[in-house]
């Protein structure tokens, strides 16, 4: 497993445990998020703390996961390192997501 899921107060925190979010783990992310939604949670926080490198397949999986949560759901991201942030900026995806420097802050904003 390259992911850990913890559900607290109706929010699913999906933590990536792999160091590289690339083609080898991208399909698993979509599956994990899809399962979380099927189980009734559509408010998701993706925690990228352990991700050192993300490639185009990883980005594709994040966007697909975001699309899965739909209009009523919520999808935020926290703990991006500089390299990952650069990819989000290059592709203007930083304008699409609520991005938080750490999980606590993201959690507080989602609960507010």
């Amino acid at each position: 497993m390259s992911f850990e899921v913890e559900i607290k107060e109706g929010i699913a925190v999906v933590a990536v445990t792999a160091g590289r979010l690339d083609a080898s783990v991208a399909p698993e992310l979509k599956k994990v998020v899809s399962n979380v939604i099927d189980d009734g949670t559509s408010r998701i926080m993706l925690d990228l703390q352990r991700v050192q490198f993300m490639d185009s397949s990883g980005l594709g999986a994040v966007i697909s996961s975001f699309k899965l949560t739909g209009q009523k759901g919520e999808f935020v991201i926290c703990n991006m390192n500089e390299a990952v942030k650069e990819i989000f900026e290059l592709t203007h995806m930083d304008r699409l997501f609520d991005i938080y420097p750490n999980a606590d802050e993201g959690f507080q904003k989602m609960c507010a």
Binding site: A23, D55, S56, S57, L59, G60, A61, I63, S64, K67, L68, E89, L90, T91, H92, M93, L96
Partner: protein, 397 residues
């Protein structure tokens, strides 16, 4: 000899005959040898699937014979049974010498027949595995052959002209796995414009390459000609650029299960004025090298990839090229190429090389960057597709 062939090795003629008879009865084609060397010759020349060997043969020890048999390179496994008096040899000793089984002499008919049944099962399993391996090898070879043909098809789509009205060009193309999700092209459009693009479909390999072929087909002036239509319908170059990428974004929207998007730089040069208008759809920033100052600068601040979001909007980057200025377009496979220490090639290194080689003719730059990135990578096998397009504005018509 194919099928279930057996070899009986031993000193005693009577035993050899008796064993042969029983093996024949069990469906084996049986041969006999009186010593180790003769047996090894038969195995080498004819091949057998089962060997029954006396622990003590004339010219070598049973252990030595078994070791020599096992060390020989053979296409199929040989099932080896040692025969010997229990008092003379411990079964464990026979097995550790490389045998599959040990039968004590005098051999009882029932023991031998039970052992032969077990040997047959193993031999059959072995044959099935060999057949499956042969099939896999055949399948692999035919897939590889097809991929080589596909790679040639893709290579043939790449531009072959390097001196066009107003611009000289060069490029680098290194697919990660025969065919690439990276693709590029450039061509004059009428007398006034020069169109160029480079794109990178998410992932790499066959699925990405097929998408890159489809996009190329949309843009190519001799097929769908999306570029020329956009220019015809939009008097302003910037509008024409945006119309093209928006059209692609509509056409290449994936569904929820597949998000095969691509990044791209698409641009148009006004050949007379040197004005270049381009859009950066999530692709690494184009680099402009000034002939006059020798300075290389990355242009643009990103943009949404194509095929990811229906509602994506695009903007353009404008710049002016004067004679001798160069424009470098490249894929992330170049920046993220790792050396043996796990360091990325990176944009800093690329910028400094572009500046360092500013006085070299453009004809040499393709090979130089090819060599540079291959050295950095440490081999010709790349993790991701690497591509680069170099344009030099000459202003000459």
């Amino acid at each position: 000899m194919e099928g279930t062939s057996a070899l009986v090795v031993g000193n005693d003629a009577e035993t050899r005959v008796a064993l042969s008879r029983q093996l024949d009865g069990a469906g084996f084609t049986t041969m006999t040898a009186t010593n180790g060397q003769q047996a090894l010759d038969i195995i080498e020349k004819i091949g057998v699937t089962l060997v029954l060997c006396d622990w003590s043969i004339k010219d070598m020890t049973g252990t030595e014979f078994c070791a020599r048999l096992r060390s020989a390179t053979m296409d199929r496994y040989v099932y080896f049974i040692f025969l010997g008096a229990q008092a003379e040899v411990a079964p464990q000793k026979a097995l550790s010498a490389g045998a599959d089984a040990f039968l004590s002499t005098p051999v009882k008919n029932d023991d031998l027949s039970a052992r032969l049944q077990s040997a047959t099962r193993i031999i059959e399993l072995q044959d099935r595995m060999t057949a499956r391996n042969d099939f896999l090898e055949y399948a692999y070879q035919s897939v590889t052959t097809d991929l080589k043909i596909a790679a040639k098809v893709q290579e043939d789509l790449l531009p072959r002209q390097f001196r066009l009205a107003g611009l000289d060009t060069n490029w680098v193309f290194k697919p990660a796995n025969f065919v690439a999700g990276d693709m590029f092209d450039y061509f004059p459009l009428g007398d006034d414009y020069f169109v160029f693009y480079i794109l990178d479909v998410e992932g790499h390999g066959i699925a990405s390459a097929l998408t890159s072929f489809a996009i190329n087909n949309q843009l190519n002036p001799s097929s769908h000609g999306l570029c020329s239509k956009s220019i015809k319908n939009n008097p302003q170059t910037a509008d024409a650029v945006i119309a093209t990428v928006q059209n692609l974004n509509r056409q290449f929207q994936g569904n929820l299960n597949s998000s095969r998007y691509f990044t791209m730089i698409y641009g148009i040069v006004d050949v007379t004025s040197g004005e270049v208008t381009m859009t950066q759809a999530g692709h690494p920033a184009p680099i402009q090298l000034s002939k006059k100052t020798g300075e290389a600068v990355a242009l643009g601040d990103g943009g949404m990839p194509i095929g990811l979001l229906k509602e994506a909007t695009y903007s353009t980057i404008s710049s002016t090229l004067v004679a001798g200025d160069r424009l470098f377009l490249y894929s992330d496979g170049m920046l993220e190429c790792e050396n043996d220490k796990g360091e990325f090639y990176g944009s800093e290194r690329l910028l400094s090389r572009i500046q360092e080689w500013r006085d070299l003719p453009i004809e040499e730059l393709g090979d130089l960057f090819d060599g540079e990135i291959t050295r950095w990578n440490g081999s010709e096998t790349f993790e991701d597709d690497v591509s680069m397009v170099i344009l030099e504005y000459t202003g000459k018509r």
